[in-house]
C-alpha cells in the first residue's frame, strides 16, 4: 500500500507523486478528507487520479493513499429497491447522515450490514460444487429470489451450510477446496466494475423483450439480451420512453442508470415506481428495480463510473438466470465525462474533443449485454438487455457519440422533434428507426402471438413508407390530385399513426398494451383499409369511406381495458361491415 502526496489539482483530476507501487485503476483515498478516487494514468511515480467527489479545498502536499483494490461494487441482498450514486454509495443512507445535500468524504457501506436476511440452502454438506453454482437463496423482495452463488473460480465440497437468519457479512457456508483449505462464503460478494462477470457461453438472442409499447413491440422489437439506442434532441421524449420501458418491459430485474441527467427525474422514478403494479407479477415495480443516480450536478468523474457500476449489478442478476434490462440515460453525458477527463489529462483529442478511445469504450460497454449460459453446473440461462439513450447536440446524430453507438447497437429508435411538436408520442420515427432483430424475432411472434403477426407488421411498414412518398406529392399538388386508392392509403397510414403508434404514457390503460391487444389493434386498423379498398373497387365514394363512423371506434380502441378487448374488437368489426355496406348502398342510390 503506497502513500503519496498531491502535486497537482485541476478540477476532478489530481496528480500525486510517490505512487510507484500503486496499480492502474486502484481506488485511492485523497487528502485528509478521504475523497474516493481512481488511478487512470501512471507516469513514473506520478499517478493521475480521477476523484469521484468535489475537489475544492484540496492542496498540494496532502496525502494520497492507495487501497490496492480496483473500483468494485458490493453484490448481495439489499440491492433491489435501493438508490445508489455512481460509485454505489446508498443515497438514502447518506441522506440520513448528511442531510439533504451531498457532503464529502462520507463512508457508508453500499449494502446494509445490519439487516438480517433469511437464507435457505439449496445444496447440502458433502455436495460437490463449482464456481457459479447456487448455494442457497434469500427472498429479497416478494418477486425477487436472490440466489447466492459460489464465486467464479471456487470449486470443492460443501463442508457446512446452514439455514437461518444472517447479516450479509456472516458466513453461511464453508467450502473445502481440493487442497483441504476451508473457504467461507457469505451473502456478500465484491466484483470490480471494469471487468465483465464471466459466463459459460453467449447465445444469440431469439426471444423478444416485450415492452407493452406498440411501436417497439410491433415495429422495432428488441430481443432479450439485445442492445438498443434511443437518440433524440431534448424534448423529444427520451426519458419518458426510457421510463416506460423500465416500467413495462417484461424483465425480472431492471437497473436504471440516471447518468448526468435531471435530479427530478430520479425523484419521479422513486415516487412513481413503488406505486405502479407490474402487470406480470402483480407486485410493485420497485420490487424489481435498482437505481443508480449521478445527476448532472453531482461530481463528473463519478458519472464515468456510474454505467460500469450499473452494468456490473445487472450482470450479477443475469448470472442468477434472470432476464435483466438496463437503461442508461444518457450515454452522451458519460462520454462527456470521458472527454472532460481526457482534456485534463492533456490527451490528443479525436473528433469534437472526444478521446480517440471513445468508440472502443462504448463498444466494450454495450458488449457486456447478451443472452448467456451462466457458470454453474445447472447451466442457467440469463439475459442482459441494454437500452442506452443518446443526447446528440442539436439532435444531429452525425456527432461522434451517436455514430459510435450506431455501429454497435442492433436496434435504433430514432426520436424525432417534429413528431414531438405534434405531440405524437412516443416520438419514434417509423421511417428512420430499425431493428435488426425483426426477422429472427418474427418467428417467435408468429408462433406465440399470432400466425400472421409478421405479415401485418410488413403491411403497416409499407403503408407508412407509401404515405411518406405520397406526402411529397400532396405537398406539391394537394390532396385532391391523389387517386381515390392513394387517398385511402393516406387515410389508412394516418390511422396507423394516430390509432396504433400513438400511445399515451400517462393514460392508465394506454400506457401498456399486451401483445394480444396489439394484434387486435393492428387487425382492426388494417381491416378498415382492406374492406374500404374493396368497397372502393366496387364503386363506393371515397369521401364516404373516409368519414365512416366506425373509424372513431377504431381510434378509441386503445383506451379499452384489456379484459374487454375481444368484445370490443368484435363490435368494431360488426360496425365496420355495417358502415361499409351502407357506403356501398348509398352509391347505388345515385
Amino acid at each position: 500500500m503506497s502513500i503519496g502526496k498531491i502535486t497537482k489539482v485541476s478540477g476532478p483530476l489530481v496528480v500525486a507523486s510517490g505512487m510507484r507501487d500503486a496499480n492502474m485503476f486502484d481506488v485511492v483515498r485523497v487528502s485528509e478528507k478521504r475523497l474516493i478516487g481512481e488511478i487512470i494514468e501512471i507516469h513514473g511515480d506520478r499517478a493521475s487520479i480521477q476523484v469521484y467527489e468535489e475537489t475544492s479545498g484540496l492542496g498540494t502536499g496532502e496525502p494520497v493513499e492507495s487501497t490496492g483494490l480496483p473500483l468494485s461494487v458490493e453484490l448481495g441482498p439489499g440491492l433491489i429497491g435501493s438508490i445508489f450514486d455512481g460509485i454505489q454509495r446508498p443515497l438514502e443512507e447518506i441522506r440520513k447522515i448528511a442531510g439533504n445535500n451531498l457532503t464529502r468524504g462520507i463512508e457508508v457501506p453500499s449494502l446494509s450490514r445490519e439487516k438480517v436476511w433469511h437464507f435457505t440452502p439449496s445444496v447440502k454438506a458433502g455436495d460437490r460444487i463449482e464456481g457459479g453454482d447456487v448455494l442457497g437463496t434469500v427472498a429479497e423482495t416478494e418477486v425477487v429470489l436472490h440466489k447466492i452463488m459460489a464465486a467464479p473460480g471456487v470449486a470443492g465440497t460443501v463442508k457446512s451450510i446452514n439455514e437461518g437468519d444472517y447479516r450479509i457479512t456472516d458466513t453461511v457456508c464453508v467450502i473445502e477446496g481440493a487442497d483441504g483449505a476451508g473457504f467461507p462464503v457469505s451473502l456478500l460478494q465484491r466484483w470490480p466494475v471494469r471487468r465483465g462477470r464471466p459466463y459459460r457461453k453467449k447465445l444469440s438472442p431469439d426471444k423478444p423483450l416485450i415492452t407493452g409499447q406498440r411501436v417497439v413491440d410491433a415495429l422495432f422489437p428488441i430481443a432479450k439480451g439485445g442492445v438498443a439506442a434511443i437518440p433524440g434532441p431534448f424534448g423529444s421524449g427520451k426519458t419518458v420512453t426510457q421510463h416506460q420501458l423500465a416500467k413495462w418491459a417484461e424483465a425480472d430485474i431492471v437497473v436504471y442508470i440516471g447518468c448526468g441527467e435531471r435530479g427530478n427525474e430520479m425523484t419521479d422514478v422513486l415516487n412513481e415506481f413503488p406505486e405502479l403494479i407490474d402487470p406480470h407479477t402483480g407486485k410493485s415495480l420497485m420490487e424489481r428495480t435498482v437505481l443508480i443516480a449521478n445527476t448532472s450536478d453531482m461530481p463528473v468523474a463519478a458519472r464515468e463510473a456510474s454505467i460500469y457500476t450499473g452494468i456490473t449489478i445487472a450482470e450479477y442478476f443475469r448470472d442468477m438466470g434472470y432476464s435483466v434490462a438496463l437503461m442508461a440515460d444518457s450515454t452522451s453525458r458519460w462520454a462527456e465525462a470521458l472527454r472532460e477527463m481526457s482534456g485534463r489529462l492533456e490527451e490528443m483529442p479525436g473528433e469534437e474533443g472526444y478521446p480517440a478511445y471513445l468508440g472502443s469504450r462504448l463498444a466494450q460497454f454495450y458488449e457486456r449485454a447478451g443472452y448467456v449460459v451462466s457458470l454453474g453446473s445447472d447451466r442457467r440461462e440469463g439475459a442482459l438487455s441494454v437500452i442506452g439513450a443518446v443526447s446528440p447536440p442539436g439532435g444531429d446524430i452525425s456527432e461522434p457519440v451517436s455514430q459510435a453507438t450506431l455501429r454497435i447497437v442492433k436496434v435504433f429508435w430514432g426520436l424525432d422533434a417534429n413528431l414531438a411538436y405534434k405531440r405524437h408520442f412516443p416520438a419514434i420515427n417509423w421511417l428512420t428507426s430499425y431493428s435488426l432483430y425483426a426477422d429472427s424475432l418474427g418467428q417467435w411472434f408468429n408462433k406465440n402471438a399470432a400466425p400472421d403477426w409478421t405479415e401485418l407488421r410488413g403491411r403497416m411498414l409499407s403503408l407508412l413508407s407509401d404515405e411518406a412518398a405520397l406526402d411529397e406529392i400532396v405537398k406539391l399538388v394537394g390532396m385532391d390530385a391523389l387517386s381515390p386508392p392513394d387517398r385511402l392509403k393516406m387515410e389508412a397510414a394516418r390511422s396507423i399513426r394516430e390509432d396504433f403508434l400513438h400511445q399515451l404514457a400517462f393514460h392508465e390503460v394506454d400506457t401498456y398494451t399486451s401483445l394480444n391487444k396489439q394484434y387486435l389493434m393492428m387487425k382492426s386498423v388494417l381491416s378498415y383499409y382492406d374492406s374500404a379498398s374493396e368497397a372502393l373497387e366496387r364503386g363506393a365514394d371515397i369521401e364516404k369511406l373516409v368519414n365512416i363512423p366506425s373509424r372513431e371506434a377504431i381510434g378509441r380502441f386503445k383506451y379499452v381495458s384489456e379484459d374487454k378487448i375481444e368484445e370490443e374488437y368484435a363490435r368494431i368489426q360488426n360496425m365496420l361491415s355495417g358502415d361499409i355496406s351502407e357506403a356501398l348502398a348509398s352509391k347505388e342510390e345515385f
Partner: protein, 456 residues
Amino acid sequence: MPKEYRTIEEISGPLMLVREVENVTFNELGEIELANGEKRRCRVLEIDGSNALVQLFESSAGINLSDSKVRFSGRQMELGVSEDMLGRVFDGLGRPIDGGPEIIPEKRLDVNGTPMNPAARSYPEEFIQTGVSAIDGLNTLVRGQKLPIFSASGLPHADLAAQIARQSRVLGAAGSFAVVFAAMGITFEESNFFVESFKSAGALDRTVVFSNLANDPAIERIATPKMAMTAAEYLAFDRDMHVLVILTDITNYADALREVSAARKEVPGRRGYPGYMYTDLASIYERAGRQKGKKGSITMIPILSMPEDDKTHPIPDLTGYITEGQIILSRELHRKGITPPVDVLPSLSRLKDKGIGEGKTRRDHSNTMNQLFSAYARGKDAKELMVILGEAALTDIDKLYAEFSDEFEKQYVSQGFTTNRSIEETLDLGWKLLRILPRSELKRISDTLLDEFYDA
C-alpha cells in the same frame, strides 16, 4: 495574517500565474492588492506543484508583476446571507451597490453549494398560475421547476418574464415569497425595466437583485448566478420562502465561461465553448427544486438569447437538456404582432403532467391540452399547404384546421403583457376554440369530457 505573495509571473486575459505558493488549495478565493491599495478578487483554477493558476473576477488593468501582492484566504468564495438581503441591490460578486449599509450576515455560505441528494428531492407538482394562457394551459409551470425562456435579440422576453414574476401565484396557498433577480451582462435599461416592474407590483422589498451589467467586468459574471442561487437557497430552505429566480442572460454567462476556457487553452467543444459547459450549467440549474421536509421552493426562469435564433446552438441546446422544458419565443409570431410571441409547439413543460388535472387545475386540462397541440400542429401544416397551393387545395376539414390555428394564435396566445387570465378562463377559451372543429375530430379527448364540455 495570510501570507502575501509578490510572485505573479504571468497575466494573460483573465488568468494569472503565481509562483512559489504554499498550502494553496483548489478553488480557493484570493485577493490581489494593487500598488495603490485597490483590491481585486480571484480564485484558484489549478495548482501544479508550487504554481497556482488564478482566475480574476475583475479587470486585470493596473496589475503589475513587481508591486501587486496576492493573498489567499483559505476559504472558498462565500456569500454572507441574511433576510436583510431582501429589497437590496448587489453587484455580481455580492457587494451592496445601492448605497445602503453592508449586510450583517447571519451566516456565510460557500457559493458553489453542494449537490442536492436525489433521494432528498421532493417532486414539484404544485400548479403555478402565471395568468399567461400559452404557459398555464399548454406548458404548465409548477413550483420548483426550472423553465427557461429561449429568446433572441429583439424579442420581448423581458416583458414576458416580468409578467410571469408579477402575476404568478399558487392557487389557495399561503407562504411568503421572494424574487431573486440576477442580471448578467444585460443593459442598464433592461435591468431597470425589471426593477421598475417589481416596484410597480409592490414586490421590490421582497426582491434581491444581483446586477452585473454590460459594462461590468465579463469575468465577474461567472460568479453572479452562483451568488444568486446561494441567496435563493438560503431564502428557500432556511427561511421557508417560495423563491422565483430570474437569471438573464445565460448567453452572456456562457460567453464568459468560454473566455476563461480559451485563456486556459483548453480543448474546445462545440463553437469554442468548453467541454464541461454542460456540467457547469447543470451546477447552476439543478440548484432549483424542492426538498423533502422543507417548506420553501426554488422555481427558476433563466432567460437566454439564441444566437441567430438557432435552437441547436450549444447554449440553448445544453440548457434544454438540463432544464425541465423551455418556452420558445418566435420571431415570426412577433412580426405578426402576437404578444407574447410564444411558439407553443416546440415549447414544453416536462413537469406539467404532475401539476394539472382534477384537484389542481381541472379534469379536462390534460385532454384538451393534447388536443389543442395536435389541432394547432395540423392547422399549421394546412396553412403551409395553402401558401403553396391556394385555399382550394385544402379539404373542408383542413380549412377548419387552418381557421382554428389562426384563431388560436389570435385569441389564445396573443393576450398582451397585462392580461391576467385565470386557469378556468384559459381552459374555457380552449374549448371555445376547439368547437371550431367537429366533435369527431377530437380524438384525444375522452367521450365523457366531450359530453360535458363540448356540447355545453
